[in-house]
Amino acid sequence: MAEHLLELRNVSQVYRSGDREFLALKDVSLALDEGEFLVLLGPSGCGKSTLLRIATGLQRPTSGEVLYRGEPVRGVNPRATIVFQTFALFPWLTVLENVEVALAARDVPPAERRRRALEILDRVGLDGFEGGLSPGALRRDAPKSGVCPGHGGGAGAFMLG
């Protein structure tokens, strides 16, 4: 059988609170290959965020399996990420520092972080925003300048090759 980029096999999620049980995901199987783009659509509360958390390894499903390139995912998959609808930036850091944190986590040496972070902001049209700008100010100002994608949208997940 061909190896998929991401594969979910018979994933179910039951949420328990006290003695009440809620079946949020029931027996979901799907496969995603390199270069594919998948959109999950559904009404509020149907389990989209739950599925994203399980696919990225943030959450272990009640039952079922998650495979990344054929290997079972244990813990958070370092090749996956989620862009949350709340943006989830560290508010005490500037926009530039937020980008640098992500690079620091990937062990990019300090000297190189600033350069790469500036390059990344430039590429997404946020150059000139890099000064001492806080994420709060970005959230306020960015829509006015038309650089803010996906307003009102939900969370998106990215699987990187």
Binding site: L58, V76, F84, T86, A88, A105
Partner: protein
């Protein structure tokens, strides 16, 4: 109460009493702070693959900072109060005093030594106000301006 017989033991006991009284303010404030960290921010820290130390430095410490300051301010207020009662003990028919402002106030009250009571109280008021202005207020401002979770 075996501490009483050690040299400086009563001082130590007084400090311990003030600490046990005030740690709760800090503890419960910290718990409240931890609960207030947005879930998405915690998820993002994990997805980025931040190490434990990085997570503390970049997420938990800054997010908890305002709560720690609030806890410490409340606690220090409580500790000033406690110092007056903690620094003297009636023990086995004898009254033991530690060296301290609280002890002076307690003793002056007991002995009706009003000029001393007045001076000591004034000193404490000045100290409390000075520490408030020089330390707590500054920390509070930093907490408000730098480490606020919107």
């Amino acid at each position: 109460m075996g501490l009483v017989h050690l040299p400086g033991g009563l001082n130590l006991a007084a400090v311990l009493l003030m600490l046990t009284g005030s740690q709760w303010y800090i503890l419960f404030n910290t718990i409240a702070g931890a609960r207030a960290i947005p879930q998405d921010l915690k998820y993002t820290a994990r997805l980025m693959g931040l190490s434990r130390w990085q997570r503390w430095r970049i997420l938990y410490f800054p997010a908890l900072f305002p709560y720690l300051v609030t806890g410490a301010i409340t606690a220090s207020g409580g500790a000033w109060n406690a110092s007056i009662v903690a620094e003297h003990v009636v023990f086995g028919g004898r009254t033991l005093y530690t060296v301290g402002l609280g002890a002076i106030i307690a003793r002056a009250t007991e002995e009706g030594h009003y000029p001393l009571l007045f001076a000591a109280t004034l000193t404490m008021i000045t100290l409390v106000v000075a520490i408030n202005r020089l330390l707590w207020r500054r920390l509070y401002r930093v907490a408000e301006e730098r480490f606020k979770l919107e």
